[in-house]
């Protein structure tokens, strides 16, 4: 296939314009990677939290360190987005919401739902 050489070649992420469905996808990937990175630390917390009163308190204190708390808020968003976008992708597997208009609507539902849950849980757990 002949292609002209002067076509734009944007790897500049700021210049890439994604539709809202595209943001559901890329954030699904980013949140998944963040959750993967959190696995060893989560297992560490599980381990010490089960080692009596002292270990449990140590885990609780660790979670109270401001930077860790911030990481937990980001991980809360990651779980919510990964879960809700994941459910949307499972619907895609069953051919639900493939038309452009419907797909856009589903993408907005994902973001609105996760925003509501994120605000509610952040206030409930972290504030």
């Amino acid at each position: 296939m002949a292609v002209s050489d002067n076509r734009p070649f944007f790897l500049n992420l700021v210049k890439i314009r994604l539709p809202v469905t595209g943001f559901v996808s890329i954030f699904h990937r980013i949140s998944g990677l963040l959750l993967f990175l959190a696995i060893p630390f989560s297992v560490y917390l599980l381990d010490i939290s089960l080692q009596g009163e002292a270990g449990f308190n140590e885990a609780a204190e660790t979670l109270n360190i401001p930077i860790i708390k911030l990481a937990c808020v980001i991980l809360l968003w990651s779980i919510l987005h990964h879960l809700i976008a994941g459910i949307r992708f499972l619907l895609t597997d069953f051919d639900i919401g493939l038309e452009k208009q419907q797909a856009t609507l589903y993408a907005w539902i994902v973001f609105i739902l996760e925003a509501i849950l994120f605000i509610w849980l952040t206030v409930k757990v972290f504030l």
Partner: protein
């Protein structure tokens, strides 16, 4: 196809229908389990050392946590592997990062199982 890409792309377990199905089955299990834990914490919050330990040492919770751990690690392996295959074209780089990720997941799994098992001993 980039040079040597076939080596990694055709390895069993790295592509095809099987990981696709595992990814979805594990996703459903993880989702349902998170919902279960969420409801438990909403209704009867086990947020002190002895309650938390008791909750984890309840046999069905312990088994579900073990299955959850396997599900999460397997799900993470398939997901991160896809990311690596998408963004690291170099074969040596791929093998290196895949190995690192694999070791991290296996290590986390062994550590997690140790933690889940020890509640019955000490």
């Amino acid at each position: 196809m980039a040079n040597g890409e076939g080596v990694l792309m055709s390895s069993p377990g790295l592509q095809g229908l099987r990981p696709w199905i595992i990814q979805r089955v594990s996703a459903v299990f993880i989702g349902v389990f998170i919902l279960y834990v969420f409801i438990v914490f909403l209704i009867d919050n086990p947020l002190n050392a002895s309650d938390w330990r008791e909750w984890v040492s309840t046999p069905y919770n312990n088994i579900l946590l073990g299955l959850f751990l396997i599900g999460v690690l397997w799900h993470a392996w398939i997901g991160v592997r896809d990311i690596i295959l998408d963004y690291i074209p170099n074969v040596v780089g791929r093998l290196l990062v895949l190995t690192l990720v694999g070791c991290t997941l296996i290590g986390s799994g062994l550590w997690g199982f140790k933690a889940l098992f020890m509640v019955f001993i000490k």
